[in-house]
């Protein structure tokens, strides 16, 4: 179906269902129960899952396929956000032109940065992209924000003010980002079943539809001759050159495509919340998408989405657990034990969620070099009765090399 083989079609359908039903799936605990804090089915977080999923899917086209590790992709995300907010300011709150411009501007940016950075490979490429991203951050944070020429509004962040032109805005349209009148921040359905409640948000479903579309696109790219060439770049550039193929434009195309995915993600962030700040471009943000991709499984189709969901879940849920919550959990223990457990776990919760994430990341990289996807495959193999031999790439699926994640 849709030009995919049956295995890929199944994957696409599963992903589509998970994304569409996410408001149910992510709210498994009754609202009043002690476990309700593990519910992730609220619009703000679900939007983040999906937006960063898009970001990571795009990043994986570059990093997972070609092995070129960019440390500057947050710059494209940030540029996308700024472009979208400018569209809101000048044109109207309609998200379509805003998102379109995000993607276009990110594409132009990535052509420039990619063209220069791709003159080097391996660690030098990574450093070049990092340098560009930090320069973009500096530009956004201060240089392009002065009374004479204020493109980014510096520290405060770019936002829409009542005095902005908004030439296409008119009476009757909501004063927040909208899709032809449908406000992104509104919920269209808030069902309550017994103790459970769910939220269906307009903005989330816009992001969801786009995620399914770009996920489909990424499957097509993975299975195309172009995708095969990108894997050839990662595998052996020397052989590629002597086989009559020019690796540079292939890598640049992958770089620009992944930059456009990042721009789309940035545009969507602004469409959900019409604000763009320079911190979105900082190197930590670039590092985050690298983590997402590796954690989920670089070079696999679904891995980046899983990785993005995993990290965003941790960031938002684990960071909210505090000592009081821990005391509740361990209240069944004798007092001394309870205090001890809370003392031991304290560094790993709340602000310490980074520590937990770091540990998990290390465990995954060491024991599951193929990321969460490899974990899933191993579990599936166990269920299938592990006796079936797990030969090389029987299915023609692309299993990334576990060791070096950087192109030579």
């Amino acid at each position: 179906m849709f030009g995919l083989d049956s295995k890929d079609t199944k994957l696409l359908i599963v992903v589509a269902l998970l994304v569409i039903l996410a408001p149910f799936i992510l709210n498994p605990f009754p609202t009043d129960s002690a476990l309700a804090q593990f519910n992730a089915g609220y619009p703000d977080l679900m939007q983040r899952f999906v937006i960063f999923g898009i970001f990571a899917i795009g990043f994986n086209i570059l990093f997972g396929l070609t092995g070129y590790l960019s440390f500057g992709h947050a710059a494209f995300l940030g540029v996308g956000s700024y472009a979208a907010v400018w569209m809101f300011k000048l044109l109207s709150y309609n998200v379509i032109p805003a998102i379109a411009l995000s993607v276009i501007v990110a594409a132009l940016f990535s052509v420039l940065i990619g063209y220069i950075s791709l003159r080097r490979s391996g660690i030098y490429f990574s450093i070049l992209t990092l340098a560009f991203a930090q320069m973009s951050f500096a530009l956004a944070y201060s240089v392009l924000s002065n009374p004479k020429f204020n493109l980014t509004n510096g520290e405060t962040g770019l936002q829409v003010y009542p005095g902005d032109p908004q030439v296409l805005h008119h009476e009757g349209l909501p004063d927040v980002p909208h899709l032809f009148g449908i406000a992104m921040r509104d919920n269209f359905w808030e069902p309550v079943f017994g103790g459970w409640s769910f939220t269906f948000n307009n903005g989330y479903y816009l992001c969801a539809v786009l995620l399914i579309a770009v996920f489909y696109l990424s499957i097509r790219i993975f299975r195309s001759p172009f995708g095969m060439m990108l894997r050839a770049v990662k595998s052996n550039q020397q052989r590629m050159n002597y086989t009559g193929l020019n690796a540079r434009p292939y890598t640049l195309a992958a770089f620009v495509i992944s930059g456009m995915y990042a721009g789309l993600a940035g545009g969507l962030l602004a469409a959900m919340d019409p604000l763009a700040g320079a911190e979105r471009m900082q190197w930590t943000a670039s590092g985050e998408v690298v983590l997402m991709t590796i954690l989920g499984g670089a070079g696999t189709l679904i891995g980046p989405v899983l990785g993005a969901g995993f990290i965003k879940y941790f960031e938002n849920i684990f960071s909210k657990i505090n000592d009081n919550v821990l005391h509740q959990w361990f209240s069944f223990m004798p007092d001394g034990m309870e205090d001890f457990m809370v003392f031991v776990l304290h560094p790993f919760i709340g602000k310490g969620w980074h520590l937990t994430l770091g540990l998990l990341f290390m465990l995954v990289v060491i024991f599951l070099p193929g990321g969460l996807v490899e974990g899933g495959q191993r579990i599936a193999a166990l269920f299938r009765g592990g006796r079936k031999k797990r030969g090389g790439a029987e299915d023609g699926e692309h299993h990334p090399k576990p060791s070096p994640h950087v192109a030579e």
Binding site: F226, L245, A393
Partner: protein, 251 residues
């Protein structure tokens, strides 16, 4: 005029004169062997032909056009394919994928943004790749991860990849090193067969004299970066200079 004309090529690596005044003319549709002791500069010479190295002086003409200063992929697109001394294949990819890539390069050129059609639908490419694999007697290994092939099979895969491009000039750097005897003989037969079926010029570097004397129509002996003699296999066998510089060591 040969299809390949190398004139006065010099190449130094620091203090080492790797190639000194090399002149070589390879005639179209012949098998031309280049032999010589280790370190004679044979691989260096090939590197100068495919754009991996640029000679310090001299000229390299392929079919009347200079190859100097061109990118390796451009030289390949001109019709020169090369098998390396240590196998260069796409280790992360399957045997079949390894075969399809050169077929794409041949059909679509150095770059083609073919991002939405499925690889599985490229019937002509698949057919071509399978055909060459079949000739190489490797079709049963088509779905194997190429990194897990034996050394000999990696080399045969690389030869198959080059042959699938139907090059006009095929450069082979010790193509049978690391192969079992049977595979060596297969490879000799295959090259002979290809030679009969179509127009192809082959330049081959080889230490295995059995391979050299089975295939070559002309032989150039290289020693310390300079060609000693160039002649037919029969003459080379008895040449005193050659015995001294080369055969003497191994015989």
């Amino acid at each position: 005029m040969g299809i390949l004309e190398v004139k006065n090529v010099n190449k130094r690596f620091g203090g080492l004169q790797a190639l000194g005044n090399v002149n070589l003319s390879v005639q179209e549709n012949t098998v031309h062997a280049i032999i010589g002791p280790n370190g004679a500069g044979k691989s260096t010479l090939l590197n100068c032909l495919v754009g991996k190295l640029i000679p310090d002086t001299g000229s390299v003409m392929f079919d009347g056009q200079s190859v100097l200063g061109r990118h390796p992929y451009e030289i390949n697109q001109m019709g020169i394919s090369r098998v390396f001394q240590t196998p260069e294949i796409f280790g992360d990819l399957t045997v079949m994928e390894n075969m399809m890539i050169p077929c794409f390069a041949k059909r679509d050129g150095a770059f083609e943004m073919n991002a939405l059609s499925a690889v599985g639908r490229q019937k002509d490419i698949i057919e071509r790749a399978e055909h060459v694999l079949e000739d190489m007697k490797m079709l049963d290994k088509r779905n194997m991860h190429s990194a897990s092939l034996s050394r000999g099979d990696k080399r045969r895969l690389e030869i198959a990849m080059c042959l699938s491009q139907e090059p006009r000039l095929l450069l082979l750097d010790e193509p049978t090193a690391g192969m079992a005897r049977a595979d060596t003989n297969n490879t000799i037969d295959l090259l002979k067969q290809i030679k009969e079926e179509r127009d192809i010029t082959i330049a081959i570097i080889e230490h295995d004299m059995h391979v050299v004397f089975s295939l070559a129509e002309r032989i150039t002996v290289l020693a310390q970066g300079t060609p000693l003699v160039e002649d037919t296999p029969d003459k080379i066998k008895g040449h005193p200079k050659v015995r001294e510089a080369y055969l003497g060591e191994s015989a």
